[in-house]
């Protein structure tokens, strides 16, 4: 069962992005990504204030079975991180698109979002 909300943007590396009302972009990992990893046990997030280039490593997720890097899908400055994930990484399993968000970016260029995958593109990417 693929859960790919239509209103979000996606990266082929399995991050999702949501444009917020204040112009920032919230980033997390997709339902498919958390399913691939299985039960998450540690999440490492970037520091607030870090400037990330597009596709730069922004953090790490460790599940029982594997470790995986998380990337900044677009360039920007980290303005918030979800500290709840540090104590409860399983939230990214249960609520990947809401409570399980990873970090929020102030985009270097808001137009970068337009170049990202739509829900339909991402579904095709997954061969669905």
């Amino acid at each position: 069962m693929l859960d790919i909300p239509a209103e979000l943007k996606y990266a082929a590396s399995h991050e999702w992005m949501r444009l917020e009302a204040d112009g920032t972009v919230t980033v997390g990992i997709t339902h498919h990504a958390q399913e691939l990893l299985g039960d998450l046990v540690f999440v490492e997030l970037p520091k607030v204030g870090t400037t990330l280039a597009k596709e730069e490593q922004a953090g790490v997720v460790e599940s029982v079975k594997a470790a995986s890097d998380v990337y900044a899908p677009i360039a920007g400055e980290v303005v918030a991180i979800n500290t709840e994930l540090e104590a409860g990484p399983e939230i990214a399993n249960t609520e990947p698109y809401s409570g399980g968000w990873f970090f929020r970016l102030k985009p270097a260029d808001a137009a970068d979002l337009d170049g990202m995958l739509s829900a339909e593109d991402y579904a095709r990417e997954l061969g669905a």
Binding site: F42, V61, V64, K65, S68, D69
Partner: protein
């Protein structure tokens, strides 16, 4: 996100015979689908990796009762006048120790060079022996067993007509007895590492989790109904994911990871499974092991504990100050302890600490004796 760097391959020793062949299901395949399993290919078999959450399944086995389909493992009946003398020649442990009916023995099967072909369990049966070997080593093992028994009065019968369920956890035996009340007395009378035949069924008090429990061999056609009855009795179906974290906490080896044909049992924590006495028993690999012992065994198996963040993984480099380097052979996050643990092969001179190359950072870890967890409790200091 990158593709997971260390995908769970609980058995990397898939025999070449299964390459290119679509994976096959066990007699319980449909039961797994009905129970909501996520299925993966494991050693040529379609097996449940979990039924929703590996962590929950792990916890259920430590606290209550869970069951694992292990029908992919190979059950072998051994009969004939030379069965005992042949087994005494090919196993590092000695079947002469099997003092009563149904008693089980854990043993390594070794090459002449003293390395591990497989690890197995052998039971004393009414008319000979019953052996259980790993799924991933099936073809290799059968070829070796046939080769070494050539010209002897030994009959090997592969029991692919049997399914096997491991029911494990503090309440496992009670729940099995509630489903099979007519067998309850016989099951409750079993000593640890003993089995009993019940007609075509075979019930053994063995397991791979560090908990009490049973491994039950069942005629394949009867397995799905039994599986359903156990679910109704409150036994949770559990996948290979939890099986791996449970056995690692219990400090138990997994073939193809903690040992293989490049590793001596003396370096893989299997020294206790070698029967040196009587000295006259010349089993395959004995001379090589004696030479290794005489020269001094270079490496040994230990447990590693990382109490901070991060997860120790198979293949990571272990640095022992002043003694050299070793390697993690199995690593995971321990659901019971809430931090990472690993089994490693390190220089024998290791002390109480070491460092692990954790994704480019040398990170201090504690070195402990295995196991980490037994009967639901932490057992190391």
């Amino acid at each position: 996100m990158t593709a997971p760097r260390t995908p769970l391959q609980p058995d990397s020793s898939t025999s070449s015979a299964t390459v290119g062949v679509p994976p096959r299901g066990t007699p319980l395949y449909q039961s797994h689908l009905d129970a909501g399993a996520k299925i993966v290919d494991f050693a040529g078999w379609s097996m449940p990796i979990h039924y929703g959450s590996q962590l929950k399944e792990h916890e259920i086995v430590r606290a209550d009762a869970g069951m694992f389909d292990v029908s992919h493992m190979v059950v072998l009946d051994i009969t004939g006048g030379d069965a005992k003398s042949w087994l005494q020649g090919i196993l590092a442990n000695d079947v002469a120790k099997l003092g009563y009916m149904g008693k089980a023995l854990y043993s390594g099967l070794l090459t002449p060079e003293g390395t591990v072909i497989d690890d197995l369990i052998v039971y004393l049966a009414e008319d000979g022996y019953r052996m259980v070997v790993n799924a991933g080593t099936r073809e290799k093992d059968l070829a070796w067993l046939r080769k070494t028994s050539e010209g002897r009065e030994v009959i090997l019968t592969v029991r692919d007509d049997l399914a096997m369920l491991a029911v494990q956890g503090p309440n496992a035996i009670n729940k099995v007895c509630s489903v099979k009340p007519q067998w309850a007395d016989a099951i409750r009378a079993l000593k640890v590492f003993q089995g009993v035949a019940m007609g075509e069924w075979f019930v053994a008090r063995t397991g791979y989790t560090g908990e009490d429990g049973l491994e039950i061999m069942i005629p394949a056609t009867e397995a799905p109904a039994f599986f359903s009855q156990l679910i109704a009795a409150g036994v949770a179906p559990c996948g290979l994911g939890a099986r791996d974290t449970l056995r690692l906490e219990a400090g138990m080896n997994l073939y193809g990871h903690d040992m293989d044909e490049t590793i001596s049992p003396l370096q893989a924590g299997m020294g206790w499974t070698i029967a040196w006495e009587p000295a006259s028993r010349d089993f395959i690999g004995r001379a090589a092991l004696e030479a290794e012992k005489a020269a001094g065994v270079a490496m040994k198996q230990v447990g590693l504990v990382l109490e901070g963040r991060g997860v120790l993984r198979e293949g990571m480099r272990v640095v022992v100050a002043g003694a050299g380097e070793g390697v993690i052979t199995s690593g995971t996050f321990s659901p019971t302890l809430k931090h990472s643990i690993a089994i490693a092969r390190v220089p024998a001179a290791v002390g109480s600490t070491a460092e692990v190359d954790l994704r480019g950072t040398l990170t201090p870890v504690r070195v402990v004796k295995l196991p980490f967890v037994r009967l639901g409790k932490k057992v190391f200091d």
